[in-house]
Symmetry: C2
Subunit: 165 residues, 2 copies
DNA sequence: CTTGAAAAGAGCGGCCA
DNA sequence: TGGCCGCTCTTTTCAAG
């Protein structure tokens, strides 16, 4: 995982339609070694998958909601089933177990308020929750899947972090 | 935008490596019309982009933080600059302007707590904020880019349940 | 929309440095 | 490792039904 790999990843997480030849060109490699690196990154699971990112608004999915959940005290088994149930709901794009005052955090995407209400009822029906707070997004300022990779070419924010490896 | 288009989108937002022949096969179309549909969906912006999704943990980015921000009262111009600044930070993967008690909501991905502290200082340095609450993720239960498309083929979750419709 | 097919391009793999 | 050079497959385009 050297700096060339990071460059390749930075390119691919922005635009996965780039040809291997183009990527190789940009990172200063010819096709073959570039291709081999990408294969390895995929085999290692660093590249998890390649997907098409759709425009939610154009598909009538204009409402994003952040949901904070506090569970009542439950057995581990219970929580596991809860997690499974919620994760299976397609409206839930992200779902994290949290530290602190909130137990779970969800990012939900639905068509409109009515659709959210339907989802909400479905959610609270899965099990008794101590507290569910819904926060509604008015405007999407930014939304990306690109991770903050340490850009190796020129500007390096803080070099020392790599020492842990 | 008929049900075949939705099937195509459902496939592509899950796996963008599928060949056109395969997609056509699965939606009951031959290559040519299937290809034309995908071209149209891209031209219309329904398909926004194709990206590689990377594994944050394998890249040493193991900490996800949800940040709630309440701004003090500011001019519209001021807020615009704030939005611009925050959006330009690569650690910020998602950034929404919210309705209600919280003004902005961020999803931030960093390496560790120390890196988050660095980010946090950078964030509050941009402008005086009334309140910044950081919530830390302990476990990622689910994270997808796939939107909840109304699956038209067969199983439709619960169409009639919402009697209010 | 379908079949068929051809040209262009990209992925893939072997072999050499 | 990286680089050159093919082979194969997909994508892309076009014709005709």
């Amino acid at each position: 995982m050297d700096s060339i790999d990071l460059k390749i990843l930075a390119l691919l997480q922005t635009d996965a339609t780039l040809s291997i030849a183009t990527i190789g060109e940009r990172v200063g490699l010819s096709q073959t070694p570039c291709w081999k690196r990408i294969q390895r990154l995929e085999a290692d699971g660093v590249i998890d998958r390649r997907v098409a990112v759709l425009d939610p608004v154009k598909l009538g999915l204009g409402l994003t909601v952040f949901v904070s959940i506090e569970t009542a005290d439950h057995s581990e088994d219970w929580l596991e089933r809860f997690a499974e149930t919620v994760a299976s709901m397609p409206e839930v794009l992200e779902f994290y177990r949290m530290a602190g005052d909130v137990d779970y955090m969800l990012r939900v995407v639905v068509a409109d308020m009515q659709a959210y209400d339907t989802f909400y009822k479905k959610l609270i029906a899965t099990l008794p929750l101590k507290n569910v707070t819904s926060r509604f997004a008015m405007e999407k300022v930014k939304s990306t899947t690109a991770l903050p990779l340490p850009l190796p070419p020129s500007a390096r924010p803080s070099l020392r972090l790599a020492a842990g490896a």
